[in-house]
């Protein structure tokens, strides 16, 4: 049963690709002319989740995990092999106009703007295609130009823009019709740190102002940390985790990092945990999560401690650990 409030509802969703394959060499090439061999690849296998209106969900997984395939099924570009999907009450694969007017799919490595002409002309085309009333178009366009600092860029041919500038423009163009659901596939790929932050802030602002639902894939943990309260981790087509981002860290971080500053610079702390770094009395230790309280107490009792902090491991390490766990083949 579909949850009544879900913007995105996915049940038992699977996608299998039939991939042609052959050995190397001319003989094998000739053989493949008469006898074509294919292999079934399950890109997505029986996944299920709901996303409620206004939620920003991070969709995490290594390359080939099934993230993009899922986003394409949700946006209507791919037919599921089996299972059920609804987005805003529509079955995406039917690609009804009313559905397409209310969503957007932005792929960081694909270009939707017209390459040879200024982006402002592509924006006007989108106005006509999405039937945006003039007043709404001007208001949204000006708002995006201001938020993304596009004033000096919209009149330049897209081909003359840098990668980051182009991505800002792509996002602005793709949101002019104020979609209620955003599928963002690696929107910050290849961008520098400043530009990544800029786009993150814009997406967060768009979500806040419009109450839009966002499903985001990214390999940059900073994107996920900044935008997503909830994450879905997918690996080999299966969902390994679906829940609160902090809960993911708690569940999968095997260790904590203790940074201790000592008055005596010569002390050896290897008996307390794995020494990761030691520099001028500042020692960084990895300790098993369950032992954190006990080891901290011992450190404070045994040693002349000037300062001590306890940190969670970097999120990238946590995710790596999630992927490393055995997923069904």
């Amino acid at each position: 049963m579909s949850a009544p409030t879900a913007t995105i509802h996915v049940t038992n969703l699977s996608k299998t690709f039939h991939v042609p394959e052959r050995e190397a060499g001319i003989k094998a090439a000739l053989r493949s002319l008469v006898h074509r061999k294919t292999r079934d690849v399950k890109a997505v296998d029986q996944i299920a989740f709901d996303v409620t209106p206004g939620e920003v969900v991070g969709f995490l997984g290594p390359n080939g995990a099934g993230k993009t395939t899922t986003l394409k099924m949700l946006s209507g570009l791919l037919y599921p092999t089996s299972g059920e999907v609804t987005v805003l009450g529509h079955v995406p694969s039917r690609r009804e106009k009313d559905f397409l007017r209310r969503i957007t799919l932005i792929m960081g490595n694909r270009n939707q703007l017209q390459w040879d002409i200024p982006a402002i002309d592509s924006f006007e085309l989108n106005r006509d295609v999405y039937r945006i009333p003039d007043a709404d178009y001007k208001r949204t366009r000006d708002e995006f130009i201001e938020l993304l600092d596009l004033e000096n860029l919209v009149h330049k041919p897209v081909r003359n823009l840098s990668l980051g500038e182009r991505m800002k423009m792509e996002i602005a163009g793709a949101l002019l019709h104020r979609p209620q659901v955003l599928f963002l596939d690696e929107p910050t790929i290849g961008l520098d740190v400043t530009m990544q932050r800029r786009l993150r802030e814009f997406i967060a602002e768009y979500n806040r102002r419009n109450g839009a639902t966002v499903l985001l894939t990214s390999h940059y943990m900073a994107d996920v940390e900044a935008l997503c309260k909830r994450v879905i981790v997918i690996h080999r087509g299966h969902i390994l985790f679906d829940g609160d981002f902090r809960a993911l860290v708690d569940r999968f971080s095997a260790y904590k990092t203790i940074v201790v500053t000592l008055a005596n610079h010569q002390l050896d702390l290897t008996e307390y945990g794995q020494v990761i770094a030691a520099d001028a009395g500042k020692v960084t230790l990895h300790v098993p999560k369950s032992e954190t309280a006990r080891i901290t107490a011992r450190l404070l009792t045994d040693l002349p401690v000037d300062d001590l902090t306890i940190e969670d491991p970097p999120i990238a390490d946590v995710i790596e650990r999630v992927f490393a766990q055995d997923a069904p083949e």
């Binding site: 570009l77 397409l100 017209q114 040879d116 085309l125 106005r127 999405y130 041919p157």
Partner: protein
């Protein structure tokens, strides 16, 4: 309806803007395309003169007129090729189009229609030079010119729809080059592009009458040359309409299956 017109105007505007982005390149491309008809023109004028002034019912001056109008019709005949279709699928551009709340046929039709206005504007000076050089024999009447304008756009639509339909083969396979080549060869011979159809034997002319190619190419040219009676002209319009409808019917029948196939494989 109003929003569809607005969308059409939007894509036409985009197309015109893109053409103006590289005016010199586009012009040289168009000028370069003149080589083919000039060769035909000179060869057939020579043959006509050698035969005492005419060949296949065309005088040397009429041959010049035929091939000068040919240059416009040829440019109007440029539409989305099956090769571009293949490329569009392979490079994932079709995905972008499928995400838009509009059938890609509308996008392409609007885009190419806009382009044609630029083509006509760019053709006029080329035609002026060709007229000065080759001295065509043509008697223009208001009726013929009006019929020509309709036939010219009708021819564009015929070729557009059939090439679009043919391009959809790319949904299933990328190994159809040979099919495309065969199609284009038959089209070259039986459209009036290679030679006016009256140069061909009777049996070839009657086959051409049952195929779409002539209605996209030779027919508009012969209309403006005044070689067709009013009844024949109206029959030509009807044939163009039939072929446009056949193209549309193929597209309507195949599109859903094609997209379904594309959506199973993806790109």
């Amino acid at each position: 309806m109003k929003s569809t017109i607005r969308m059409y105007l939007g894509y036409m505007r985009l197309s015109i803007l893109q053409q103006f982005q590289y005016p010199v390149r586009n012009y040289f491309y168009m000028v370069g395309m003149i080589a083919e008809p000039i060769i035909y023109l000179v060869v057939w004028q020579t043959v006509a003169r050698a035969r005492g002034g005419a060949v296949g019912g065309f005088t040397a001056g009429e041959i010049a007129a035929y091939y000068i109008v040919w240059t416009l019709v040829r440019n109007m005949n440029i539409v989305l090729t099956p090769y571009a279709w293949e490329n569009r699928i392979q490079r994932g551009q079709l995905s972008g189009q499928l995400l838009r709340p509009i059938h890609p046929l509308h996008i392409d039709l609007a885009y190419f229609t806009g382009w044609k206005f630029v083509v006509i504007a760019m053709w006029l000076p080329i035609a002026a030079v060709l007229i000065l050089v080759f001295q065509p024999a043509i008697q223009l009447s208001l009726g013929n010119v009006a019929a020509f304008v309709i036939a010219l756009w009708g021819g564009f639509l015929v070729r557009f729809m059939l090439q679009w339909a043919l391009g959809m083969l790319s949904f299933w396979t990328t190994r159809v080059n040979a099919v495309f080549q065969l199609y284009f060869t038959i089209e070259l011979l039986l459209s009036g592009r290679f030679v006016p159809l009256s140069f061909l034997p009777d049996w070839a002319q009657s086959i051409a009458g049952w195929l779409p190619f002539k209605w996209a190419f030779g027919y508009p040219i012969e209309v403006i040359l005044g070689r067709w009676s009013p009844q024949e002209i109206f029959f030509g319009f009807a044939m163009q309409a039939v072929w446009v409808l056949i193209g549309l019917a193929i597209i309507a029948l195949v599109w859903r299956a094609g997209v379904s196939r594309f959506s199973s494989v993806g790109n």
